[in-house]
Symmetry: C2
Subunit: 201 residues, 2 copies
């Protein structure tokens, strides 16, 4: 049995969203599972001296805005650039880890719903109310999750996930690890597929 693939992302990363719509099906074609790891790019960028693409030089920011939407069209994935961008994602990430502790399939459903809430429906996923609403639509108890989002345990869980990502060298989103080989960016999908098919090239 092969080891699962690790998929690190921030919910506010457009290329993370694009990869999230493909990675599970792609892995499944090769009999592989995927472990999802929501992280906070703000901490990653601070530690590695980087910045969001849209906060960089105006020419690069404008290019990136066009490329997010074009890459989505290229992959056949719906995309509307969010009116709030980038935005804080600690509530969404904390909810993910709390749900994962109870039902990892439900956590995956929540992750998809959260990405789509941001990139299809332009919802403010930085707000705890939005996160709670998304979870409630999936049958999650509102007050239990509301309490959990404020618990020290879940804050620590997310902090540990970010620290672990930094420790293994994650510097951006999406970042995929297959048997120790790292792939950064949704534009590495074709290489990921080839790697899974051949076991390395």
């Amino acid at each position: 049995m092969s080891e699962p693939i690790d998929f690190y992302f921030d919910f506010s990363s457009p290329y993370g969203y694009l990869l999230s719509e493909r990675i599970d099906d792609l892995a499944a074609r090769f009999g592989r599972k995927v472990r999802w790891h929501p992280i906070l790019l703000g901490f990653i960028f601070k530690a590695t001296g980087s910045a969001p693409l849209t906060a960089q030089h105006p020419a690069k920011a404008a290019y990136s805005l066009n490329d997010f939407a074009r890459s989505a069209r290229f992959l056949g994935i719906p995309y509307t650039h969010p009116s709030r961008f980038p935005l804080a994602t600690q509530n969404a990430a904390r909810a993910y880890y709390w749900l994962h502790g109870q039902d990892c399939g439900l956590a995956r459903q929540f992750a998809h719903a959260t990405f789509r809430a941001l990139y299809v429906d332009d919802r403010d996923i930085s707000s705890p109310d939005t996160v709670l609403d998304i979870a409630e639509q999936l049958g999650v108890d509102h007050s239990a999750l509301s309490t959990a989002l404020q618990s020290p345990e879940i804050k620590t869980r997310l902090k540990e996930a970010v620290d672990q990502a930094l420790h293994i060298g994650v510097f951006g989103s999406p970042y995929v690890l297959i048997d120790g080989e790292a792939f950064w960016g949704a534009d590495r999908l074709a290489q990921i597929e080839c790697w899974l098919e051949t076991g390395g090239f």
Copy 2:
């Protein structure tokens, strides 16, 4: 008759080299020509607040070194990471523009030979002697090019090329413009192909 495609690159850019090995044949399949524009990333990065990948955070630098070689293998292009990297490319770029003023086909041959000298044979293309030697192998007069490399005209020509690139929003290498649509990176090859095939998507 369609407008030519514009291809901006620095001779020290690994992804520029990878795209240089594909762009002409790809364009030709769609009846398009390519205008090559060697530029100097040092000036581009200074103006846009960027830095070479290998001068960034150690995790990103290490990833990039692996990705240069892996992307080359993925595309089936020979690649050896140069022992001098990045390196100054103004002599190679000046030689290109001087040759282009006389014989644009010869300039293209020189560009390919220069990229391969760096990425296949690990030669020091920052040195005027290497540049002169590469050109001489293509039948170029050594002393005429040697004189030209020091001429104010050719220095101005290269400066104008860099300024023009900045003016139209080039912020990295390779940067390809097709009918006003920009594509940054060798990893946009599949999108470039689709764009040429469909006229936009």
